[in-house]
C-alpha cells in the first residue's frame, strides 16, 4: 500500500469469521466504574486473554501503561478527571511516549456523532458503544488486528489514518486539501447505535458526509 492513499478496509471480511489469537496479550481496561471494568475483563477472559488489568482514573491508567507492557487499551470517555479522550490525546501527542502507537479502543455511553468525531480526532483506533456486547467487541478487535491503518504524524494530529474507506462505497473519495474542515458543533441527537457509528465513520472518511 502506498502511504498517503486512503486505506481500504474490508469490514465484512474483518468482522465476520476472522479468528484472532489473544492468548499471551496484555490488556488494560480504564473505566470509572469498578463493576464495568469487571464486565469487560470477563468478556476478555472469555476471549482467552489471561491478563487484563483495570484502572479507574487517568493517572493510574498512565502509570500502568508506563510500568506494564500493555498491548491494547480500552478506555471510557468518562474516565476521571478529564475524560478518556484526554488520555488518548496525551498518549498520541507526546512524541517521547514509548507507547504512542498503542491500539486504543474508546468506549462511550453517549455515542453521539460529536463524541465519535472527537474520539477519532484524539487518535482512537476504534469507538465502541455501550452496552458492549461480546460479539461487537470481538469483531472490533479482529478489525484492528487484521486491518491495521497506517499512522499519520501531521503536527496537529498523530494517530491512525482518519482517511479510510470501507469497500462497498464505490463512489467514495478520500479527504482532499480543498475539503472543508469538519466543524464540531453542539450535540443535538440521541446516542447512536454501534452500526450507526460504523456507518458514520465510513461515510465521513470516504468523503460522503
Amino acid at each position: 500500500m502506498e502511504p498517503g492513499q486512503p486505506f481500504r478496509l474490508s469490514m465484512r471480511s474483518a468482522m465476520s469469521e476472522t479468528t484472532i489469537n489473544l492468548a499471551d496479550l496484555h490488556f488494560l481496561v480504564a473505566d470509572e466504574s469498578y463493576y464495568y471494568t469487571k464486565v469487560i475483563q470477563s468478556i476478555f477472559h472469555g476471549f482467552g486473554v489471561r491478563r487484563v488489568l483495570a484502572t479507574h482514573d487517568a493517572v493510574s491508567t498512565l502509570e500502568v501503561l508506563i510500568q506494564s507492557k500493555i498491548d491494547l487499551l480500552i478506555c471510557d470517555t468518562s474516565l476521571p478527571p478529564a475524560g478518556g479522550l484526554s488520555v488518548v490525546r496525551g498518549i498520541r501527542r507526546n512524541p517521547s511516549c514509548p507507547f504512542r502507537t498503542l491500539p486504543i479502543m474508546v468506549m462511550t455511553t453517549a455515542a453521539t456523532p460529536v463524541v465519535v468525531a472527537k474520539a477519532r480526532d484524539a487518535g482512537a483506533n476504534m469507538v465502541i458503544a455501550k452496552p458492549v456486547s461480546p460479539k461487537a467487541l470481538y469483531q472490533r478487535l479482529a478489525w484492528i488486528a487484521f486491518s491495521p491503518r497506517p499512522f499519520v504524524d501531521a503536527g496537529t494530529y498523530f494517530g491512525p489514518d482518519r482517511r479510510f474507506k470501507i469497500e462497498g462505497f464505490p463512489n467514495g473519495v478520500g479527504r482532499r486539501a480543498g475539503d472543508k474542515p469538519i466543524e464540531v458543533g453542539m450535540e443535538t441527537g440521541p446516542a447512536m447505535s454501534q452500526d450507526e457509528i460504523d456507518n458514520l465513520l465510513s461515510s465521513t472518511r470516504s468523503g460522503q458526509a
Binding site: 463493576y35 464486565v39 452496552p131
Partner: protein, 206 residues
C-alpha cells in the same frame, strides 16, 4: 509560512502481530465463552445494585435536606445513574436499564436546561428500589410496562415544561426559586408549585 510536513508510516503493533497468529478461539466459541463469563458475573449484580441504589438514595436524601449543593448532588447522582445504565444494559437487566436510562434522561434535561427536578430523580430511585424487591425482581419489561411508561412520561413532561419556557442567555435572569421544581422537602409540606410533576412521579412509583 512553512508547509507542515506529514509523515505516514505503517505500524505493526505487538497486538496485531500476536492476534494474527494461528491457533485462536473461533469467533462463535469465543463469544459464547464470554457470555458464560458474563453470566457468572451476574451473580454479583444484586449486591452491586443494592449498593448503587443505596448510594443514590443517600444522595437524594442529602439533597432534599439541602446538605449538598445542587451541582454536587447532580454530579454524584448522575455518576451512579450512568453506572447503572451501563452495567444493567450490558448484562441484560432490562428493567434496571430502562429505569436508569430514564434517570439519565432527567439528568440530561437538568444539564441542558438548568432546571432542577429533585423529585423526579427521587421517583426513579424509588422505582429502582421497588423493582429490586423480591416480588418484582423477576418481572419482565411487559409486567412493569405501566411503571416504565410512567417514568418515560415524566421525562417527556420535564422536557416539555422546560421547552415551553426557554431561557435566553444574557436576557433571561436565573430562575427564581419558585420558578423551578422546589426541593422535595418543600413539596412534602404541601407545596403545590410542581404539583403536576409530583403527581406523575407518585403515580409512576406506584
Amino acid at each position: 509560512m512553512a508547509a507542515q510536513s506529514v509523515r505516514i508510516f505503517l505500524v505493526d503493533t505487538n497486538f496485531q502481530v500476536m492476534a494474527r497468529r494461528p491457533g485462536g478461539t473461533d469467533p462463535a466459541a469465543a463469544v459464547k465463552a464470554a457470555e458464560r463469563e458474563l453470566n457468572d458475573l451476574k451473580l454479583d449484580f444484586d449486591d452491586w445494585l443494592d449498593q448503587e441504589t443505596k448510594a443514590l438514595s443517600d444522595i437524594v436524601a442529602e439533597a432534599a435536606a439541602d446538605e449538598l449543593d445542587r451541582a454536587a448532588w447532580i454530579d454524584a447522582a448522575n455518576l451512579h445513574g450512568r453506572r447503572l445504565q451501563d452495567v444493567a444494559s450490558t448484562l441484560g437487566f432490562d428493567a434496571v436499564a430502562s429505569i436508569s436510562r430514564s434517570l439519565c434522561d432527567i439528568f440530561d434535561v437538568i444539564a441542558e436546561r438548568n432546571r432542577f427536578y429533585l423529585e423526579l430523580v427521587e421517583c426513579h430511585v424509588r422505582a429502582l428500589e421497588l423493582i429490586h424487591q423480591d416480588q418484582y425482581r423477576d418481572k419482565s419489561l411487559s409486567d412493569l410496562s405501566e411503571l416504565l411508561h410512567g417514568l418515560d412520561q415524566l421525562v417527556a413532561a420535564a422536557k416539555l415544561l422546560t421547552r415551553e419556557r426557554p431561557k435566553v442567555p444574557g436576557l433571561d435572569p436565573p430562575a427564581p426559586p419558585d420558578d423551578v421544581s422546589p426541593p422535595a422537602a418543600s413539596t412534602r409540606q404541601g407545596d403545590t408549585r410542581s404539583h403536576d410533576l409530583r403527581a406523575g412521579a407518585d403515580a409512576a412509583a406506584g
